[in-house]
């Protein structure tokens, strides 16, 4: 099974819950592979208390213009939909590397074969292990915009190298393309929110995304006690709790550190229900 953990709003506790569910699954004897698909701001390894290891450098295509072959016709500039190529009239086109999506349309468009393959590093993927759980993470190179591609790279590596029976896909905040990329292929999802107007607003947004992708989901409410407001159709409510925060800061998940804690029991029961 592939389980997505998402939520729209940032900081509602997606990763905290995902890490604890992963450990709960593991304690039930399941082999778990965890994918941290927040390549902008990965944090699962911090919450697991693990170091990022086994680094793979991820590269993306960049056009390199062969000066001898280039006839300065401007076809590549006209083709590029990302404004990564520009040209001063009569001169060789220039490239803004950070805007390049690596689509190769310029290469397809050039009638003279003047565009050759170059590459840029867009980030790194990692594989590590903690509590018997395989963790795959990715890091986007700061100031590069290709988050989506990095998410695909993490997924590709995890599904190739990972040996889990259960795959947990932890997405970034938001509801845009990189979240969609992470959620694609998930059999079900958990949307994590909090009982604030922000949380409820963003839950509605992410539920639309999940609806479009036809992924069934359960709703988990974190810090449920900060408001009297009750959300409908929730499957898990985690109260605001000081021990939970301490575990978070310490980098030891509550299910591991305080297995008898009320919250640990709640999360484990919830994980058990997800397995059915």
């Amino acid at each position: 099974m592939i389980l997505g953990i998402t939520g729209g709003k940032g900081g509602t506790g997606k990763t905290v819950l995902a890490v604890n569910i992963a450990i709960a699954f593991s304690k039930m004897g399941k082999k778990v592979t965890y994918l941290d698909c927040d390549v902008d701001c990965p944090a699962a390894h911090i919450l697991f208390g693990a170091k990022l290891e086994n680094e793979n450098e991820i590269k993306s295509f960049l056009p390199s213009i062969n000066e001898e072959k280039c006839m300065k016709c401007g076809k590549c500039v006209e083709t590029c939909q990302f404004n990564a190529l520009y040209q001063i009239k009569g001169e060789k086109p220039s490239l803004v590397e950070s805007l390049c999506s690596g689509c190769k349309a310029c290469k397809v468009a050039c009638p003279f074969g003047a565009i050759e393959d170059n590459e840029k590093t867009i980030g790194w993927t990692y594989k590590t292990e903690k509590y018997g759980i395989e963790l795959f993470s990715g890091k986007l190179r700061p100031s590069d915009p290709l988050s989506e591609k990095m998410v695909e790279e993490v997924k590709e590596r995890a599904f190739k190298e990972g040996k889990g029976e259960m795959f947990i896909v932890d997405t970034s905040a938001g509801a845009h393309c990189q979240v969609v990329r992470a959620l694609e292929g998930c059999d079900m999802a958990v949307a994590v929110t909090e009982p604030t107007l922000f949380g409820i607003h963003d839950l509605k947004v992410i539920s639309e995304v999940l609806g479009k992708l036809k992924i069934p989901y359960e709703t988990a409410v974190n810090r449920s006690t900060i408001s009297e407001r009750k959300l409908e159709n929730t499957s898990l409510e985690i109260p605001y709790d000081r021990d939970m925060i301490n575990c978070y800061v310490e980098g030891i998940p509550i299910v591991e550190k305080l297995p008898e804690h009320g919250i640990s029991k709640k999360i484990s029961e919830f994980a058990g229900r997800l397995l059915k």
Partner: protein
């Protein structure tokens, strides 16, 4: 003067800080650059003065689906082309509108059509104009939507002679954050005393340094961990202009959609002081 509030990690208090600064500055315009999950309009109600649709990306649409024997799938770097039962299918979710297929396969008569990416909205609130975007859930092009709302804000601030533009950035460090930071004069980084927040605000600051923009830091939720509070002070030294204590009043007010700076507790007091400091620093 354009000021961006960012944090890398989500939920550290960007919108809380932004709303406090906005209420304290005499004349400003507020831009909510979190276009997939905008939240400022929940804090600040007002009359909508404009709303328009926006297209930030395109979609390839096949005109004549009579493929030959070419490698149709291989040309698309995004895996958006599939050949099934002798027909070509464009997977809409994956198509980036890059034009490679349009050029490679003229026989398919493919056209790029604009997608509906979302709406650009302007509201006149009690104290300032608020500009925000609403991305169609799951759509690409959030960076372009951010550029577009910034353009609208610039036009309004020129017309109305508004000296300060406040930009509330989304979580992360990807394209919408890059779009928010591009062309700005000052950045306020929000960090909480947790290892995840510190690691990720540093990643966001790498983007800021790439653009050579001066910045200062605000520590939020002081009281969660002394160890990491000290780490923040050690790391950022006098760049830390304010420390906002953790105060249960803040989530309670946010739960009701009220800017926490309007509260009565310790945090509200510190938020006010923080806003005054930022006003001085950028003034």
């Amino acid at each position: 003067m354009k000021i961006v509030i960012l944090s890398g990690k989500g939920g550290t208090g960007k919108s809380c800080m932004t709303s406090a600064i906005a209420l304290n500055i005499e004349k400003c315009i507020l831009v909510d650059a979190d276009v997939d999950c905008p939240n400022q309009h929940i804090l600040f109600k007002g009359n909508e003065t404009s709303r328009k649709q926006f297209s930030a990306s395109k979609l390839a649409v096949i005109g004549k689906n009579e493929p030959g024997e070419k490698d149709y799938e291989g040309i698309c770097e995004f895996g958006a082309i599939k050949k099934e039962e002798g027909k070509i299918k464009i997977i809409e979710n994956r198509c980036e509108g890059c034009k490679a297929c349009v050029i490679a396969f003229p026989e398919l008569e493919i056209e790029l059509i604009p997608r509906n990416s979302g709406e650009l909205i302007v509201k006149e609130t009690e104290k300032f104009p608020l500009v925000y975007g609403k991305l169609v859930p799951g759509e690409a092009g959030s960076g372009k939507v951010v550029f577009e709302i910034k353009k609208i804000a610039e036009k309004i601030s020129n017309e109305k002679n508004i000296p300060v533009t406040l930009i509330d950035a989304p979580a992360g460090i990807g394209c919408p954050v890059i779009a928010a930071v591009t062309g700005c004069d000052y950045v306020v980084g929000v960090v909480e005393p947790t290892p995840a927040s510190i690691a990720n605000v540093e990643r966001a600051l790498e983007v800021v340094k790439h653009f050579n923009i001066p910045y200062s830091m605000v520590m939020n939720k002081k009281g969660i961990s002394e160890k990491y509070e000290n780490e923040i002070r050690k790391k950022f030294k006098d760049l830390v202009v304010a420390e906002i204590p953790y105060d249960e009043e803040v989530p309670k007010m946010l739960a009701e959609g009220i800017p926490p700076v309007l509260g009565k507790g310790e945090a509200a007091k510190s938020l006010k002081e923080m806003a005054e400091k930022i006003n001085e620093v950028v003034g």
